[in-house]
C-alpha cells in the first residue's frame, strides 16, 4: 500500500465532481453579493433544489428536467428572500438564516416519499474517441454536462461582471446603491434578478448532489455545503475565477484526504480533515493583510438595505 495505489486520473476526476455543487452555489452567491445583497440562505436553497430536482427527475425520468426544476425551485425560494429583504426591507442576515432553516424543513417535508429511490442516471457527455485518451480522456472529456455547465458559467460570469455593460450596472448597484439610484438604475429590480439567479445556481448545485454525486435523496444531505460556498466567495475575494480555484481546492483537499487514508498513507487523519478549513483561513488572512476591505474586494453596499426614499 501507499501512494502508488492512488490514480491521479481518478483523483482529479473525482475532485471535479466533488467541487461542482459548491462551485455552482458559490457562483450564484458571487453574483448576489456583487449586487450588494448578502443571502445566507444558500444551504436552504441548495437542499430545496436537491429534493425538487430529485423529485422532478424521478417523476419525469429525465435528469435534465430535474435540473431545470431544481433551478426553478431555488430561484423561487430565493425570491421569497428577495421579497422580504428588498420590498419589505427585512434584515438580510436574519432573513437568510431563516431561509436556510425553512429550506431544510421544507425539503424534508417534500422528501418524505423519496428516500431509497434511485434517480435516472445522468449520462456522461459523449466525446467519442476523445474519451479514450489517457488522463485527459477521463479528466477533460469524461464528465456529465453539469460539470461543463459549471465551468462555462464561471467564464460567463467573469465576462458578465468585468466585460459587459449589464455587469457594470450590477456592480454599481452593489458598490453604491444610492448613486446608482440617482443615475436612474432600478436598484431593487436588479437585485431581485441577481437574487433569483443566485437561487437558481444554488438549486442546481443541490440537484447535482442528489442526482449525480451521491446520487439519492437523504434528508439534510447538503450537510453544510452551502456554508462552504459562502466562505468560498469571500476566499475568492468576489472574483469568478477565484471561486473556481476555491471550489476545486476545497473539493481537492477533501477528496485527497480520503484517498490518502484509503491508500494507508501514515499521516494523521486529523490534519487532513482540517486542512480545507485551514487553507481557507490562511488565504483569508493573507488577503486581508494586504490593505483592508478594499483589497478584499467586498462590494461596499454588501448587506445594506436600500429604499428609494433614502
Amino acid at each position: 500500500m501507499g501512494l502508488s495505489t492512488i490514480s491521479p486520473t481518478l483523483l482529479v476526476a473525482s475532485l471535479m465532481i466533488a467541487a461542482t455543487p459548491i462551485l455552482l452555489a458559490a457562483l450564484g452567491e458571487l453574483v448576489v453579493e456583487r449586487a450588494g445583497v448578502l443571502n445566507l440562505g444558500v444551504e436552504g436553497m441548495m437542499i430545496t433544489g436537491a429534493i425538487c430536482g430529485f423529485a422532478a427527475a424521478v417523476g419525469t425520468g429525465s435528469p435534465a428536467l430535474g435540473f431545470v426544476a431544481a433551478a426553478a425551485s431555488g430561484a423561487a425560494l430565493a425570491l421569497v428572500f428577495g421579497f422580504l429583504t428588498q420590498i419589505l426591507l427585512s434584515n438580510q442576515v436574519a432573513t437568510g438564516l431563516a431561509l436556510t432553516l425553512f429550506g431544510l424543513g421544507l425539503s424534508s417535508l417534500l422528501g418524505q416519499g423519496y428516500s431509497g429511490i434511485r434517480p435516472p442516471p445522468t449520462a456522461r457527455f459523449d466525446f467519442g474517441p476523445l474519451s479514450d485518451l489517457p488522463f485527459v480522456g477521463r479528466v477533460v472529456f469524461g464528465h456529465d454536462w453539469i460539470v461543463y455547465l459549471s465551468l462555462a458559467l464561471t467564464a460567463l460570469i467573469w465576462w458578465f461582471l468585468t466585460r459587459s455593460r449589464a455587469g457594470l450596472t450590477l456592480r454599481a448597484v452593489g458598490e453604491n446603491h444610492e448613486a446608482a439610484h440617482a443615475l436612474g438604475m432600478k436598484v431593487v429590480a436588479i437585485r431581485l434578478c441577481a437574487i433569483a439567479f443566485g437561487g437558481a445556481c444554488a438549486g442546481l448545485g443541490g440537484a447535482y448532489l442528489s442526482l449525480v454525486r451521491v446520487p439519492q435523496w437523504t434528508e439534510g444531505m447538503t450537510a453544510g455545503a452551502g456554508w462552504i460556498a459562502l466562505a468560498i466567495v469571500v476566499f475568492a475575494s468576489w472574483r469568478a475565477w477565484g471561486v473556481l480555484v476555491g471550489a476545486y481546492l476545497f473539493g481537492g483537499v477533501t477528496v485527497l484526504q480520503l484517498n490518502l487514508q484509503a491508500a494507508g498513507v501514515a499521516f494523521p487523519v486529523e490534519y487532513l480533515s482540517m486542512s480545507p478549513y485551514l487553507v481557507t483561513i490562511a488565504v483569508l488572512v493573507l488577503m486581508s493583510a494586504r490593505s483592508g476591505r478594499r483589497a478584499l474586494g467586498a462590494p461596499a453596499c454588501l448587506g445594506k438595505p436600500f429604499h428609494a426614499s433614502q
Partner: protein, 358 residues
C-alpha cells in the same frame, strides 16, 4: 393591553395545564437524535422504535423528539429544554451525548435518562447498547469469502470503542476465511454526511476495494457501490433493502423497539432502575438482514451458521489466539474477550494496518 392579554392567556394555559396534570397525565418520553429521522440508517431505526412505543401505549404516552442535534454543548441545551418541558424519560441516542446526558441528569434527578452506546451511568442514567460486533463478524465472513481483489474498504466514523470493535470483529472473521484479505480504513469523522460518505466509498473503490463496509449512517456508500457495479456493501443500522440484492448483500439491523417499550413501561409502573445492558443477536437487539441472492449458497449457509453459533453462545467473535496490532498477545488460545476490554477497545488487532486517530 397586550401585556394583560398575554398574562391572562398564560394564566389560562397554566390553569388548563394544572387541570390536565391533575387528571391522568401521559408519560412524556423524549428522544434526542444525532441525524435526521429520514437518514435510512441509525436514526431511522431509533425513530421506528419511538413509533413502536407510541403504538404500544397509545394515549398513555406522549413522545417528543429532536433530530440532527450536534454532539456537545448543543445537546446539553436540548436535553435541558426537554427536561424542563416535563419529560419523564429521555433517550439520548448517540455516543457523543454521554457527558451532556450525565450533566443534565445531575440537575434533574427526577427525570430518567437512557444513553445509547456509552459507559457512564448515574442513579437516573442507564446505558444500553447492542453487540453490533456480532453482526460485524457475520459481515466479515461474507466479505472475506466474496472479495476477489482481497481489498476491503471500511468507512469508519469516529475513533470510539464501538467503531474500533466493529473493524476488529469484521477483520478477524474475514481473515479466518481468507488469509490474504486486507482492510483499508477511512475515517470520515462524521456520522452523517452523504456527500463525504459517497466520496469515501469512491476513493476506496478507485483503489481496488470490491467490498465496502460502513459505520456511517447514510445510504450514500450503497449508491456509490451501485454505480461502480461489481462492489458489494452491507446495510448499516437499518436493512437498506432498497439496495438489495446488489450492492447490498446483507445488513445489520438495530432493533430498539422491544427495549424502548420495556423501559417506558418501567417508568410508567415505577420500576425503572439504572442499569447497563448490552444485548446482541441472542436477545434480538442485533438482527442480520436477509442475505441476498448475490451471495452463493454455501457462503450464505456458512454465514447463517456463524450467526446461529454466536446467538447460541457457542462462538465468540473475539476468541484467542489474538494479538494486538503491535504483536503483543491479547487473548491466549481459546480465551474469549471480556466485556470490559471490549467496551473500552482502543487498539487494532494484528494484521490491520494504519493507526487509530486519537
Amino acid at each position: 393591553m397586550y401585556r394583560r392579554v398575554l398574562l391572562s392567556a398564560t394564566a389560562a394555559l397554566a390553569l388548563t395545564g394544572g387541570f390536565a396534570a391533575a387528571q391522568d397525565e401521559p408519560t412524556k418520553v423524549g428522544f434526542v437524535f444525532v441525524g435526521p429521522i429520514g437518514d435510512g440508517g441509525w436514526t431511522y431505526e431509533h425513530n421506528q422504535a419511538r413509533l413502536a412505543v407510541e403504538e404500544e401505549y397509545g394515549d398513555a404516552v406522549e413522545t417528543v423528539f429532536q433530530e440532527s442535534v450536534p454532539e456537545g454543548a448543543d445537546a446539553e441545551r436540548v436535553l435541558t429544554q426537554m427536561a424542563l418541558s416535563g419529560a419523564d424519560l429521555i433517550f439520548t441516542t448517540s455516543f457523543g451525548y454521554m457527558d451532556p446526558t450525565i450533566n443534565v441528569a445531575q440537575r434533574f434527578p427526577d427525570v430518567k435518562f437512557e444513553h445509547a452506546t456509552g459507559y457512564k451511568t448515574a442513579p437516573n442514567v442507564s446505558t444500553y447498547s447492542a453487540r453490533f460486533y456480532e453482526g460485524r463478524a457475520v459481515q466479515g465472513l461474507i466479505a472475506g469469502r466474496m472479495t476477489e481483489s482481497n481489498r476491503i474498504g471500511y468507512i469508519a466514523s469516529f475513533p470510539i470503542p464501538e467503531v474500533v470493535r466493529g473493524i476488529n470483529a469484521s477483520y478477524l472473521a474475514a481473515k479466518a476465511v481468507n488469509p490474504d484479505v486486507q482492510f483499508n480504513v477511512v475515517w470520515a469523522f462524521t456520522w452523517f454526511d452523504p456527500a463525504k460518505e459517497a466520496d469515501a466509498a469512491q476513493a476506496l473503490i478507485d483503489q481496488g476495494a470490491d467490498v465496502i463496509l460502513q459505520h456511517t449512517d447514510s445510504t450514500a456508500p450503497q449508491a456509490a457501490a451501485a454505480e461502480a457495479g461489481d462492489v458489494i456493501t452491507f446495510g448499516q443500522a437499518s436493512d437498506m433493502a432498497e439496495y438489495a440484492p446488489m450492492p447490498r448483500v446483507s445488513s445489520i439491523i438495530d432493533n430498539w423497539a422491544p427495549y424502548y417499550i420495556e423501559r417506558v413501561g418501567d417508568v410508567m409502573d415505577g420500576s425503572w432502575e439504572s442499569q447497563q445492558v448490552w444485548y446482541g443477536i441472542d436477545e434480538g437487539m442485533v438482527k442480520i438482514g436477509e442475505i441476498s441472492d448475490a451471495v452463493p449458497d454455501d457462503v450464505r449457509e456458512e454465514a447463517m451458521a456463524l450467526r446461529d453459533a454466536i446467538s447460541a453462545g457457542e462462538t465468540h467473535p473475539f476468541t484467542g489466539p489474538i494479538n494486538r496490532q503491535d504483536g503483543t498477545e491479547w487473548l491466549a488460545e481459546g480465551e474469549t474477550a471480556d466485556d470490559e476490554t471490549l467496551l473500552g477497545m482502543d487498539f487494532y488487532v494484528e494484521g490491520l494496518s494504519g493507526e487509530i486517530p486519537n
